[in-house]
Structure formats: C-alpha cells, structure tokens
C-alpha cells in the first residue's frame, strides 16, 4: 500500500497499456504507428519495474536501473527502426506492413 494505492493498481494500469499496445501492433498497418504501439508496450513494462521496485524493495534500485536501460534500448531501437522505415519508404514509396512480403516463401 502506497499512500492508499496498492501495487495491483499500478500493475493493472500497466497491463491495460501493454495489451492496448499489443492490439495496436496487431492492427495498425503503418509502420510508424506500429512503432508507437511498441513504445507503449515498453513503457508499460517500465511502470511495472518501477512499481515493483518501490513498493516491494524500497531500499534497492534495480527496478529503476532496468527502466533506465530499457529507455536507452528503446531510444536506440526507435532510431534504428526509423532509419529502416525511411529506407523502406525510399525503395517502396510506402510503409504499409501488409505490402512487405517480398521475402515470403
């Protein structure tokens, strides 16, 4: 209990955010919107880590460091992903994920 807010509330918010991100990842056709969904997913995980850290092991910093590293990874992932997207756009003049199937069978 953290000043009246239990841990499970944080977790439920994070879960909702996570699965909304999943839903977005599954339905969005535009690569950039898919990337945004991915950011949502990563963010929800961050919330989990931080909440666990603070509410269960307040004298440690692991959760927070995990979050920091995840943010760093997310930043690099976003930059590379966007580079790829721009490259794809340059070649195919669209970034619709359903049309990228040249490598199938």
């Amino acid at each position: 209990m953290f000043d009246g807010v239990p841990l499970s509330w944080f977790l439920i918010v994070a879960t909702i955010m996570f699965f909304v991100g999943i839903y977005g990842f599954l339905v969005r056709k535009n690569l950039i919107t898919m990337l945004m969904s991915l950011e949502l997913i990563l963010n929800s995980v961050n919330i989990n880590f931080v909440a666990f850290n603070k509410l269960l092991y307040p004298n440690h910093l692991e959760g927070m460091f995990f979050s920091i590293f995840i943010i760093a990874v997310a930043a690099s992932e976003a930059s590379v992903a966007i580079a790829i997207i721009i490259n794809i756009y340059r070649r195919l003049v669209n970034i619709d994920v359903e049309k990228m199937e040249e490598m199938k069978y």
Partner: protein, 171 residues
C-alpha cells in the same frame, strides 16, 4: 480518497484513454500526440513513486527525443492530412480477442496474487542522483558499471547503424 489516489486515477485515466486513442486514431500525427500524453502521464506516475530522476529521463528522452523522432519520420514519410486506412474487421476482431484474452488473464492473475507489502509510507524517502551516479559507476554489489558500458556501446552501435541504413546510396 487520498490525494494520492486521486492523482493515481487521473494519471491512469490519461494513460488508458490516450493509449487507446493512440492505437485507434486515424490521423497519424494525432496518434503521435496522444502517445506524447501517455508518456507524460507515465512520467507523472514516476513522480508519484518518488523516482524524480527517472521521471526526468522519461520526459526528456521519451517525450522529448523519441516522440520528436517519430514525428519527424511521420513528416518524412506520410501526408499529414491523410486519414489512415481502417484495418479490416476480421483483423480487428482477432487482434482484440488476443489482446483481451491476454489482458484478462494477466489482470486475473494479478488480482489473485497476494503481494507482500513492504512499504506503507515513503513520502519522505527520495532516491538522490548521488546514489544513482554512484551505483552507475560502482563495480561491487548493486553496481552497474558493466551494463552501463554495454548500453553505451549499444547506443553507439545504434547511432552508426541508423546513419548507415538511412544514408542515401550512391547507386
């Protein structure tokens, strides 16, 4: 209802509503803006939990860096006024089913589980940047010198990779 609870409800409402808007908006620039709101609200949650440094990072890196990057790429690759195509109904149903099933399973599991409660009030406790900095370069227990170095290499590699990939080819 404590002020904390009110704060929490506001933040979580923002998070949930704008998350859903982010994944359902048909104007891509708006979706990016909604994502920004979600990220800012998340930073609010971090502040509530007294992780000031992390919240600051969340604001600067996520909200300031990544979202701006995304908006740039949107401007480069899409026509801003255009509405996105609506995905097919079948696809939406399947995706919603998967997401709902997963969400329900997780929430159910969370509610069933009794978490040990270690902390009740930590309003006075703060994690200082001093602690974080020391942990970041310490090599002992709870030290993060190695991951720190690794992540810096990763960032460098990502930077170089992004430049190489996005660079215009001569041919």
């Amino acid at each position: 209802m404590t002020s904390n609870q009110i704060m929490f409800f506001i933040f979580s409402a923002v998070i949930v509503i704008f998350s859903i808007l982010t994944v359902s908006s048909r104007r891509i620039l708006r979706a990016a803006t909604f994502l920004l709101f979600v990220l800012v609200a998340t930073a609010g949650l971090y502040f509530m939990l007294r992780f000031n440094f992390l919240a600051a990072i969340q604001l600067t890196l996520y909200a300031g860096g990544i979202v701006v990057l995304i908006i740039f790429s949107i401007l480069l690759t899409s026509q801003v006024g255009q509405k996105l195509e609506l995905p097919s109904v079948k696809k939406r149903i399947f995706a919603a089913f998967a997401a709902l099933a997963g969400g329900l399973v997780c929430i159910f599991a969370i509610l069933q589980y009794n978490f040990p409660i270690a902390v009740t009030d930590l309003s006075t406790e703060r994690t200082t940047i001093d602690d974080i900095g020391k942990a970041m370069i310490s090599t002992g227990k709870y030290g993060y010198a190695l991951p720190f170095e690794v992540i810096s290499i990763l960032l460098l590699a990502a930077m170089i990779g992004a430049i190489i990939i996005a660079k215009k080819r001569k041919d």
